[in-house]
Symmetry: C2
Subunit: 153 residues, 2 copies
DNA sequence: TATTGTTATACTCTATAACTATA
DNA sequence: TATAGTTATAGAGTATAACAATA
């Protein structure tokens, strides 16, 4: 290995990334980006960004969920959620309704179109999940998810 | 479950994220963000962003590596690498030197200070790696990394 | 003609401060 | 006094197009 004071020149044949590859964070990020790339394309068919699908899906399974609860669940900051909700509402997929007894809060609900879209998107996502992780066996996929959840739960 | 045409109001006690949690991409992203948060703090001690550490570390282990090779290895776009390299060069950590026989390319090298900083940062990172994944056994960590690499390799 | 590095720039994502109305 | 939702805005990260020098 040469220092800067030793002005020789080297040619790197294949790049060595051994150290970075010993890090869970590095590998998790690389894997996430790899999968997200595939998901982004396929969600575009439904005209949904990934975060929009997450929101749609969360509301589908939690009718009446508040913005604050969505923010906590998806790790989104409140100001950044507003436009997402507004956009889905304008598309007629989602509605805001006053919370039953907390005058500050709004409950989120899907319209029938929203529910229909979510069901279609869920099917796409489930199929895609298998494809995007086709290098894993079913058992490996299960193990991987369990270990990842141990980290962030 | 209520539709938008059925204007009732619901209260969500605990948010159900079961569907999203069946997805490798969702879990990988959540885990990556969780770890990156810890790493960002600890790298700040060395005044390094995570991507800057990745660059420093890659050059440390691959003296003479070209910008293009770095871009391919770290999945960075060329225009976005330029400022990173320039910044580390201004800090006296890294130097650009002409490629031995390709007049277009520049080889990247670390100065002695750059090497020293990388060694200190590697120690921090290695210690941090254990801490950030303390919920995993050594065997689980090894399995997790192997499975993640199967996805993006 | 294709590639490396670069510049300029646009777009998206994320983060912060401050406001309102309600609790 | 604190919280939910909102607005405006700033900052970071990521992307595309075009150029000069070299292959």
């Amino acid at each position: 290995m040469h220092s800067a004071k030793d002005p020789s020149t080297d040619i790197v044949d294949t790049v060595n990334t051994d150290f970075l590859r010993t890090l869970v964070g590095y590998n998790a990020r690389r894997a996430a980006l790899s999968i997200i790339e595939v998901f982004t394309e396929c969600m575009a068919v439904h005209q949904l960004k990934i975060v929009e699908f997450s929101l749609l899906n969360l509301v589908a399974h939690n009718p009446g969920v508040t913005s604050r609860q969505v923010c906590n669940s998806l790790n989104i900051l409140a100001p950044n959620l507003v436009n997402l909700v507004t956009l889905l509402e304008k598309r007629g997929l989602l509605v805001r309704r006053p919370h039953p007894f907390d005058g500050r809060a709004m409950g989120l609900y899907l319209s029938e179109e929203g529910q229909a879209l979510n069901e279609r998107a869920e099917q796409t996502v489930s199929a895609l999940e298998i494809e995007a992780t086709s290098s894993l066996t079913a058992a490996e996929r299960k193990t991987l998810i369990r270990l990842l959840q141990k980290i962030y739960d």
